[in-house]
Symmetry: C2
Subunit: 744 residues, 2 copies
Amino acid sequence: MAAMRCNAAAVVVAPAVAVREAKVVSRVVVPGVGLGKFVGLRGAGLRGEVAVRAVERRAAGVVTKAAASSSVETLEKTDLAVLEKSVNTIRFLAIDAVEKANSGHPGLPMGCAPMGHILYDEVMKYNPKNPYWFNRDRFVLSAGHGCMLQYALLHLAGYDSVQTEDLKQFRQWGSRTPGHPENFETPGVEVTTGPLGQGIANAVGLAVAEANLAARFNKPDAKIVDHYTYCILGDGCNMEGISNEAASLAGHWGLGKLICFYDDNHISIDGDTEIAFTESVDKRFDALGWHTIWVQNGNNDYDAIRAAIEEAKSVTDKPTMIKVTTTIGFGSPNKANSYAVHGAALGTKEVDATRANLDWNYEPFFVPEEVKSHWSKHIDLGAKLESDWDASLEEYSQKYPEEAAEFKQLISLELPENWASSLPEFTPADAGDATRNLSQRCLNALARTLPGLIGGSADLASSNMTLMKMFGDFQKNTPGERNVRFGVREQAMGAICNGILLHRSGLIPYCATFFIFTDYLRAAMRISALSEAGVIYVMTHDSIGLGEDGPTHQPIEHLASFRAMPQMLMFRPADGNETSGAYKVAVLNRTVPSTLALSRQKLPNLEGTSIDNVALGGYTLSCNATDNKPDLILLATGSELEIAAKAAELIRAEGKTVRVVSFVCWELYEQQSAEYKESVLPKAVTARVSIEAGSTFGWERYVGLKGKAIGVDHFGASAPANILYKEFGLTVENLVAKSKEVMA
Amino acid sequence: MAAMRCNAAAVVVAPAVAVREAKVVSRVVVPGVGLGKFVGLRGAGLRGEVAVRAVERRAAGVVTKAAASSSVETLEKTDLAVLEKSVNTIRFLAIDAVEKANSGHPGLPMGCAPMGHILYDEVMKYNPKNPYWFNRDRFVLSAGHGCMLQYALLHLAGYDSVQTEDLKQFRQWGSRTPGHPENFETPGVEVTTGPLGQGIANAVGLAVAEANLAARFNKPDAKIVDHYTYCILGDGCNMEGISNEAASLAGHWGLGKLICFYDDNHISIDGDTEIAFTESVDKRFDALGWHTIWVQNGNNDYDAIRAAIEEAKSVTDKPTMIKVTTTIGFGSPNKANSYAVHGAALGTKEVDATRANLDWNYEPFFVPEEVKSHWSKHIDLGAKLESDWDASLEEYSQKYPEEAAEFKQLISLELPENWASSLPEFTPADAGDATRNLSQRCLNALARTLPGLIGGSADLASSNMTLMKMFGDFQKNTPGERNVRFGVREQAMGAICNGILLHRSGLIPYCATFFIFTDYLRAAMRISALSEAGVIYVMTHDSIGLGEDGPTHQPIEHLASFRAMPQMLMFRPADGNETSGAYKVAVLNRTVPSTLALSRQKLPNLEGTSIDNVALGGYTLSCNATDNKPDLILLATGSELEIAAKAAELIRAEGKTVRVVSFVCWELYEQQSAEYKESVLPKAVTARVSIEAGSTFGWERYVGLKGKAIGVDHFGASAPANILYKEFGLTVENLVAKSKEVMA
């Protein structure tokens, strides 16, 4: 399929510029204040205690060197002097990039640089020269505005995607360092974050993917799937409801390899979190079934961070939340610990003061030699990690050829041969059915041919018809199963599916709820579209056709709202063939999400539909004109295609030529050639009427100003569906009447 | 303004039918099984303990009479025999209505009937003959699918809105008993629920309204504002992220008069909550700063329910969550405690079995005389409550005439005289500004003339420009202030504003975030529209014009998606006058919500705009044709109106006649007469070009198939705004070029 992403927004790959020679900045460094004042941490307490939020913690403190605390054996510690230099390098790369762009968020990278260093330098397994190496640890910056932290780390780690020139192009047109982390722009970035709370839910999805694949493919003597998922989230993420949904599921599933860092800096855009966020986050995560740890001094106590990670890894049956108390904008003498450093450049004066305060006598974007040299090991280390893993996989392939074949098929990201042949085909002689039931047949057919298929519903499995009967539930003790029970957590469901897909291991996540509840899911669905994650959204009860539940449950504007969304395929199939066809396109599109709007009510199999026609988006279902000039064109989707077909018969009986067009997916139709479009909707024929049980908004594109659109431009009502169709004029009679008006 | 609600969906008021004479059902009642088997509670434990979720609790138990536990002095207890009959009346009204409709959710009403009875019969203050009496206690059924519980209670309590005939019309066309509670259909229902989690957030909003008004108007000797807000929510509500957001705020604000009941029945649609919901809800609420209580037997232990309410009332500085463990579908021998009873009619056989099991020898919809007689007191009691309050208010008015005048003005729901005169007006000579800043001027002007204005931002006050400078923050210790700090909780923010508005006390809530984050808010915004709640949504950073934050933060499809939503006014003002005009219409519309999309970037004040023109929705900004046949019509909104004005000048300079039309609010334009529309967009002129920094979806309505729409039909990018405008073709040059094409 043609790429849907607009060329105008395409990435301009920055030339690989060599790191410039270092030059010491000539700015005045005031002697003696190199370790000078900055805003310190609030008073320490015991792990898990509710911290006293004293005004005093705003008071200025003094930079103290990290105490040489007990060693952490399994982690490779960095020499302290180099470590501190590395941490300050991260801070200043962020400061300098934001300053040059005069836009961005320096506060988080300055506060989180210590944990960032430890993660990328001491803890995480990755191969910078192959950002997509399968068995890498995944990292998600849920607090995406702090993306300069991640860019700085990717840069130091040796990723080609973030070179010095890229850092200098932070937030500029065509750069690989956009204002929030975008997986489709920057290899090394796993998911797209920014809208708060999405990232932690993505991280849950990444950990789900790992748990599922590990359970399916690992053997007692061969752990070919074995990585951690790390995530940094902030106060904002923790305030968002989606993070609670995702965390509740992660606790329920016991995702022991998910390790999150809560950047507890007590500052959000509006100021101290005291004004709106005084809950006990650790107690909440305890209640959600997480292991919780508190690092009281995230600014300097490197060993405490290391020990926390060690402890987190030792807890294998629960995800871990490490609350790391940090100072936002650490090192800035006048702006640290204030909202001023959250989302704006420090300004020349404060940048100078921060350089002086942290004894950083280098020009902007400079990486000291010892830091460069220290990090350079990751090139070889990464290559070795990957080659060792390749060897393990080879050994595995020898021992377990069948499993290996399936595993390799999955991670190739290619679909298996003939996968689509399992999709059911129908003729008008086949009994009619609700498209939600037909969807179930498709899912169960695909479950047999697509080893990557995994998904479920937000507590509506029996209404959405989304269970794969051959599998059990993905649960704590059965993580290899593939029916996912999301509970009533639509937001997290979407974002978790984004994470599962962007694990890039061939998993094909689908998720389901009533179409109306895309109102909860929408932020995640948009990120599917933006981040090129081909999640399949199975959205049933797609119109007033759901009947008695009433207007709170009846989608009206939803089709239009997704048709307007870029990079989203919005399907509304009319019968069995169109449902199968929608699945076929959806599965093929691994970088474009699809939404299927499916009926609650039974629909007949129509003459003229086919699986392949769906790929055209809009096509002629029937036409009794011998030329391309019918007297009338009727346009419809989904459950109203039957009405259009019946109306056409009646009007044809009166001697008119009528074409019926199914508009199952507008986005696909828009991609067709002008010739094809003319063959379906000839410009000369202006007598056109559309019918769809939803808002008419947007239908003018196809019916024109001389046509008519029958739809529902008001909220629905609680009553049996057939009554609603009649009361709202979604009838053959009304369509015939309107058709006569436009032909008059 | 004309009512926007579609006639087709309007309420058909059911005739007030007298309650039918009782007849004993002739079905066979098996002797001795009247107190027979049903599915019982799981084993009891200590309050606050994590309950053991044993399979055993599925086992059948035996109905036990409520133990005569310690009396609760301040509550008026119902005689036990009557109480049990009343509780069973509630159960069977629900069973019978669902059975007759063959659609609905009997499980919750059967399980929650005891707490429902105690609330409406023993605890709550209300006047059934005036459902809008100001000082009533508010009740929200957040688990809205269980609406038959509420209808049964309203019926017993004597509300005119729910008579026997209404119960029989449950879920039917035109009835007052729709499938979920709808405040606009059924007086006595405070808010519209159904989408899970919304109701608890509405309840928080109702409690905010009470707290704010109490702080502003009560005197040591006169508590004229003094009521509780009660809410029943279920497992589903507690899984939804929005409920955690709202609960975190309620805890933060210490809303002591908010008392919630968590119907802990362990069943959701997909089965036992064990499959997806194993967190400790009470511990989570503890962490959120709530007082928590556990009633271990919500089926029979009436005194425990009473004692819990008593205890909740005694805790005045925290909201209370009473976990009430119940059996879903209590009384149904074969379906209780299973998902089968959640959302479907029991079926004749099981209805009969339940009647036998609960010894209910009555025909459907029957209310026994002693129950009727017991509840009949509420007519007089309610009248007395209201008249006592009226007397208090009169006394208050004598003592505090100024406060009383403002209070009465507020609760009259009329706007004060001349309120709109404070809105700023502009001429092109005035310095340009971002419409978000102009919005701030409007809000601060209105703060002086509208005593009901209250609102804030989801942690973006300094970006959304929403602080009212004359007020402090609404906080636990300063509840009389009017700047609300919602934290990063967009979903709850919207739903809380719905609650504040539907308190029906003249408060005018507004709330703010970036326009993109309407993706989080959307479910609440839709309920504003549906439930006739004129909330004002202040949505800044309305396009790619926000620049560097990039595509995760740049709205594209959002204007279209709200234009497609019924009963929502979507404004995109272009300058100072249009911003003032948008506020004027928004404030006037107390039953239709408004969304204002506002620019981050500075815009000039244009020639031709005015405050009053905004009410037309679309109007001619300028035209150099002497007749109604310009060569070209340019259509634009917001920040692109300036581009259209400039392009028009250039094209006019080449001798053409050009009309520029501002389309600030499509919904208002659609309400104008055909003559007016023809005067703005004459059919004969097909050379039309629109320009708007968003999806072109829908613009065909105004530009037609021969016109062109310039917009952004792909995701944005991270770069300075002026670069994006250029790269994406939102320029005077491109508009001139496209205009020449359509004129050719």
